[in-house]
């Protein structure tokens, strides 16, 4: 459905997207996972014909995003990070306005507007101005707006950013539903690991404008751990340095990290790992309060691949760029 080849975007010398190549299959949910400023939004904007690539090409449904941009636009829907809604117009007026831009005949448009509003339980607000809506309602509007033209491909840029947990779940469920029922191909960007994990069939991990790894969530996790991996979280109130050294000395251990005064996170391999570790700490007279057997998370994957934690990276990046030579010319998006 989507073929991206060497897609590159430079803003005044700053490379936002660096030779990105990937394919997205029909009716797949594809996630771009990465910290803020990694280039996710720029990729989405190029694919949705809003930004012209500096180099490289991409095709959507066989149409070139630069040369056949209007063909591409017929096929796609965009849920942008910013709300695409006019606050002074009512929900219905907003949808009708955007629907008209797609030349949808009036009766069909009215019918579709009502359907979509019903789908996200906003029917009774259809004559209220969008400006009076809560953030959750606005985001639901933002999503259905992108569905007016029944897109084959739907782009979602941070669709749950700034939503409360309940609205987040609602929006995620809705995205799954669209994908299942309409067979819509979905590309979404997120910096939230669990979101990518829950929604996406395949995930591309993106950092510094490059896609480092691309696979299914399960395969990505195997990448860090291998098949016989064990990840343990131990709570030991009387934790000592000696215990940590004792654990590290074991053969099956890959890494041990101390999370705080009483918590240890242990990566290990081999079938016997669990017993061996417990025996070892017991021998050191450790009092074990709790044991958690963890599956590796995408967080671990990200850490493994980029060598940094997502949150750290996002925080560091902003001051780093402020001092850069292109500060004044830097474009945020």
């Amino acid at each position: 459905m989507i073929e991206v080849r060497d897609l590159t975007k430079k803003f005044n010398g700053f490379t936002a997207v660096d030779h990105v190549t990937f394919d997205v299959k029909n009716s797949e949910v594809f996630g771009l996972l990465g910290p803020n400023g990694a280039g996710k939004t720029t990729i989405i904007r190029m694919l949705s014909t809003l930004t012209r690539p500096t180099k490289g090409t991409a095709r959507i449904g066989g149409y070139d995003i630069v040369k056949q941009d209007n063909k591409v636009r017929q096929l796609i829907g965009l849920v942008s990070e910013k709300m695409i809604m006019y606050d002074r117009l009512t929900a219905e007026e907003n949808l009708r306005f955007f629907g008209k831009l797609y030349n949808i005949p009036k009766t069909l448009l009215n019918q579709r507007t009502d359907e979509l509003l019903g789908l996200v339980q906003l029917s009774k607000w259809k004559n209220s101005k969008v400006g009076t809506f809560s953030t959750g309602m606005r985001q639901r509007m933002n999503v259905i707006r992108a569905l007016l033209n029944m897109p084959k491909v739907l782009f979602l840029d941070e669709p749950t950013l700034g939503l409360d947990p309940q609205s987040t779940v609602e929006v995620r469920e809705f995205i799954k539903k669209i994908n299942k029922e309409n067979k819509t191909t979905i590309i979404l960007t997120t910096h939230m690991m669990n979101e990518a994990d829950r929604l996406c069939d395949r995930i591309g991990i993106i950092d510094h404008g490059k896609i480092d790894t691309l696979d299914t969530s399960t395969n990505l996790k195997k990448l860090v751990s291998g098949d016989d991996a064990t990840v343990l979280k131990l709570e030991i109130p009387n934790l000592t340095k000696k215990m940590v050294t004792a654990i590290q000395a074991l053969d099956c251990i890959k890494s041990v990290s101390q999370e705080n005064a009483s918590h240890l996170k242990i990566h290990a391999t081999g079938d016997e790992a669990f017993d061996t570790i417990i025996d070892a700490v017991r021998a050191e007279k450790a009092k074990i309060n709790s044991v958690e057997n963890l599956q590796p998370t995408l967080e671990d994957v990200f850490l493994h691949i980029t060598g940094r934690e997502v949150r750290d990276k996002a925080d560091n990046k902003i001051p780093m760029r402020e001092h850069g030579p292109f500060r004044s010319k830097r474009r945020v998006r």
Partner: protein
Amino acid sequence: MGAKTMISHSFRIAWKDLMELFRNRMGLVLLILMPIFMMTMVGFIYPSETSISNVSIALVNEDEGFGNYSASSTFIMALETVNDNTGMMKLTDASNLDEVRDLIQTGDAEGGIIISSDFTSNLMSGKQGTITIVTDESNPQMSAMIQAVLGEVFEQMGTMLAQQNVQGLGVDANTSLAVVKPYNVQATGAVEGEFSYFDFIAPGIMAMTVMMSVMTGLPAAISQEREVGTLDGMMVAPINRLAVILGKTLAQMARGILQGVLILVLAVTLFGVTVHGNILLVFALLLLGVFSFVGLGVVLTSFAKDQETAVMMMTTIMFPMMFLSGVFFPIEQMPWFMQSISKVLPLTYVADALRKVMVLGADIPALTTELSVLIVFGVVMTAIAVPVFKRAMTR
């Protein structure tokens, strides 16, 4: 993508913009208040001719007479009769030009009339009697007014005098008028009835408000949508990029014309401005003016990253334009380099053409220069603006 679809899309966008505008109560109030303020302000600052009353004028009679006959006293009597009827002036006596100048400097007089020493003798010997009007250069509006008013008064008095003289020769009044004044001065002056400075100003203000409205409104509207993110919603739809500018322009144009109409209504009802020409031509000119401006607005919009920059850019351009385009001050009184700047500003031609239509009742043939300049300007600017805008939209 057919032209028809593009037009229909742009109408949708214009309609949406106007809906937003009309739902913004505060904005709407300001939209209406702005021309009202502008109009009343300018209207009261610049006095109209009819409002001249009790202007103190120093009168110097240096006439030595001819024998015991003094033509000047007849003249002064006539002047006083005129004054009694209109209450225009307050005449004070002065002895010579220097005293008049002093009076003007101290502010005791706003102008002066000097009857020359050989006034009577010249008239008696069949020459013209000289009357000098002294004006206060520090107050150009007032001095122009006094000059115009007094000039007209003297002209009329002269005609009356001449008629009497000729009648004395035994010819009837109508023929005598033809003898002494073969050309009717009023007709060549082109404006009939009362003419005020406001008549000069009103068309300019109208042109300026409409232009300003479109020029500041367009970049603000587009960059605002870009900032909020809604522009992406339009851009991601399969519509021609031009439909966006066209739609926005239509909406701003409607807004500008609304203000223009308001100004016209105020000018007519409150300040007695009369529209001599075709009112439809007035609006056609305004539309043409907008067309000539829009390109410039679009180019600036494309360069401006955010709304703030866009508005600042527009203000920077609008201000010199306001003063250099002859809206408030006649271009002729500017130094040559400013005159040449004003010749490249489209507003100059819009204001000029509007003035010709509204004040002089001119028709299309009389406006060939202005019309062609505006059309050329508009076409060139649009030709530059379209590709620049298209590029800017897909950065």
